[in-house]
């Protein structure tokens, strides 16, 4: 009798994503005009603009997976038989447990940094000896705060048994043959706490200043002061606890006090366990000077739901596990698009060129021409 117990249905999703699309006001797009004032007049315009934006995303995920997976074909008894031989043959047992956890993805993308409208300051047509002053100041502060916290507990117990059989006190031959056990446990926790923040530098502030046609001896000044601050604060905290308990047995069989021959044949146990943690706590921050001219571009949306990892190859050893991402190279790979080229080709080309030049140089040094004109 074969018994197969699969528990793939436990896919724990605590996936929360928050998308923020912030249309940020530009610092200056007004028109300021000082015009047509009389001789010896004193005119002043002061414009002060202050904007502050705060974008905050908070994601919390608490996931607890309690899984108990059992498969048993054993625990059989055939005792006190007096006629003929006694035989217990148990079937194979297969236990498969797969768990995937994904949680917390945050994407903050601020757009519309470029103001297509040009601000203007015009001082024109004012009388002789007039004093005309325009002071324009703007201060923009962008604050982005992302807090993500994930607590994941995988408490998994798997049990498979084809043994613990009893064939005692029998007349005749006694045979106990137990089946094989195949067990596979695969836990994946990740991606967890992914954060992507893209904000522009507000360096594009087109401003047109025109001072024209003012009277003799007039004093005209335009003062412009821009100040921008960008503060980005990302905090990712993740706790992943994997508590696995596995018990597999094809043995613990007894055949006592029998008349006749006794044979106990126990089956094989093949167990494969893998735990993948990652990527976890990955943040990408992009602050650049280029404004995105394509205002119709869709804001990226994180995927909803996780995926079942592809079936892993069974390994005859038990208790093996795939190491999580730990080295600096692997963390870098986890924060970049897949690496589908390498710099060795360019380096090898450079090396060959240097070798060719050096060879030609040595031929020239030897006093014998390499057979072609080389200007060194």
């Amino acid at each position: 009798m074969n018994k197969q117990n699969k528990n793939i249905a436990v896919l724990s999703f605590s996936f929360m994503w928050v998308m923020s699309l912030t249309f940020t006001p530009h610092a200056l797009a007004e028109q300021i005009t000082i015009t047509g004032n009389g001789a010896e007049s004193v005119n002043e315009v002061v414009v002060t603009k202050k904007n502050e934006s705060v974008t905050q995303q908070t994601n919390n995920a608490d996931i607890v997976n309690n899984i108990s997976n059992n498969a048993s074909t054993g625990d059989n008894t055939a005792s006190f038989n007096t006629n003929g031989n006694t035989s217990i043959q148990t079937g194979d047992a297969t236990v498969v447990t797969e768990v995937t956890n994904t949680a917390n993805t945050s994407i903050v993308e601020q757009k519309n940094c470029c103001d297509s409208q040009q601000g203007t300051v015009t001082v024109s047509g004012n009388g002789a000896n007039s004093h005309n002053n325009a002071n324009v100041s703007s201060n923009y502060t962008a604050n982005v705060r992302v807090y993500q916290n994930a607590n994941i507990v995988n408490d998994i117990t798997t049990y498979a048994n084809t043994g613990n059989n009893r064939a005692n006190y029998n007349n005749g031959d006694s045979l106990i043959r137990t089946g094989d056990i195949k067990a596979k446990t695969h836990i994946t926790s990740g991606p967890i706490n992914l954060s992507y923040v893209s904000v522009p530098l507000y360096s594009n502030k087109p401003l047109s200043v025109t001072i024209i046609g003012n009277g003799f001896g007039s004093w005209n000044t335009v003062n412009v002061h821009d100040e921008d601050d960008t503060n980005i604060d990302i905090e990712n905290v993740a706790t992943v606890i994997n508590d696995l308990k596995e018990h597999y047995s094809t043995g613990d069989n007894k055949a006592d006090y029998n008349n006749g021959d006794v044979a106990i044949l126990t089956g094989d146990i093949a167990s494969y366990t893998s735990i993948d943690n990652g990527p976890i706590n990955v943040s990408v921050v992009k602050v650049d000077c280029a404004c995105d001219k394509d205002t119709d571009k869709e804001v990226p949306v994180a995927p909803v739901g996780g995926t079942i990892p592809p079936p892993s190859q069974a390994s005859p050893s038990s208790g093996s596990s795939v190491p999580a991402i730990t080295t600096a190279a692997e963390i870098l790979a986890a924060t970049t698009l897949p690496i589908t080229g390498n710099n060795w080709l360019a380096l090898a080309l450079f090396g060959n060129i240097m070798m060719l030049l050096l060879g030609a140089y040595l031929r020239l040094r030897s006093g014998r021409s390499p057979g072609y004109n080389v200007a060194l």
């Binding site: 990226p300 949306v301 995927p303 592809p310 692997e330 790979a333 698009l337 080229g341 070798m355």
Partner: protein, 183 residues
């Protein structure tokens, strides 16, 4: 001493010429003797075909795009489909990536499958055959982005196909993205 310089110079020149041939032959082969495009309509599995650049390769589905050790193995066998994105024919973004170049001693049939990806332009056709079903895509956009722009892998709500490889050829400085839509 002059004799030593003469022979050493010869050795270096000949070695460098062999080196050029060793490096460039697999790349030139893509242009001089490109593979013949097969009819894969009735085959099982998933196959990507780009007629303009004579590229055809199997698609290895559900490859972890964050684990270089895993996707390096997949890329030896064909084009990799990023796990977490949609499969061809499903709603959402399908993200496929493959090599544009590789180490000469590691050259396989698929190590340079995306070498000529940059030759694609808007309107070019891309075909994906999946278990007997043919999907026709048309290129809509082409971009060079920084490796850190992982939002293209997270952007999955729009139904489109994205092909990715490294650029310039022989480096991993930037990523070339080809966007295509069904039609």
């Amino acid at each position: 001493m002059n004799k030593l310089f003469f022979h050493l110079g010869n050795i270096l020149i000949v070695t460098s010429l062999f080196g050029f041939a060793y490096i460039f032959y697999p790349l030139l082969q893509v242009y001089i003797a490109p593979p013949v495009i097969q009819n894969v309509a009735a085959q099982k599995g998933t196959t990507l075909t780009i007629p303009k650049i004579n590229a055809q390769a199997p698609v290895i589905e559900m490859v972890d795009p964050w684990n270089e050790a895993l996707y390096d193995e997949a890329l030896k066998r064909g084009v990799a489909h990023a796990k977490g994105t949609s499969l061809p024919g499903e709603d959402g973004t399908t993200f496929l990536f493959a090599h544009s170049s590789g180490m000469p001693w590691e050259m396989t049939r698929y190590n340079t499958i995306f070498l000529r990806l940059g030759e694609l332009s808007v309107g070019d056709r891309i075909t994906i055959n999946r278990n007997g079903r043919e999907l026709q895509y048309k290129v809509t956009d082409k971009k060079e982005v920084d490796p850190s722009e992982v939002n293209y892998l997270l952007q999955t709500n729009k139904t489109q196909l994205i092909l990715q490889t490294c650029t310039p050829i022989g480096t991993s400085l930037k990523r070339l993205l080809i966007f295509a839509e069904l039609g």
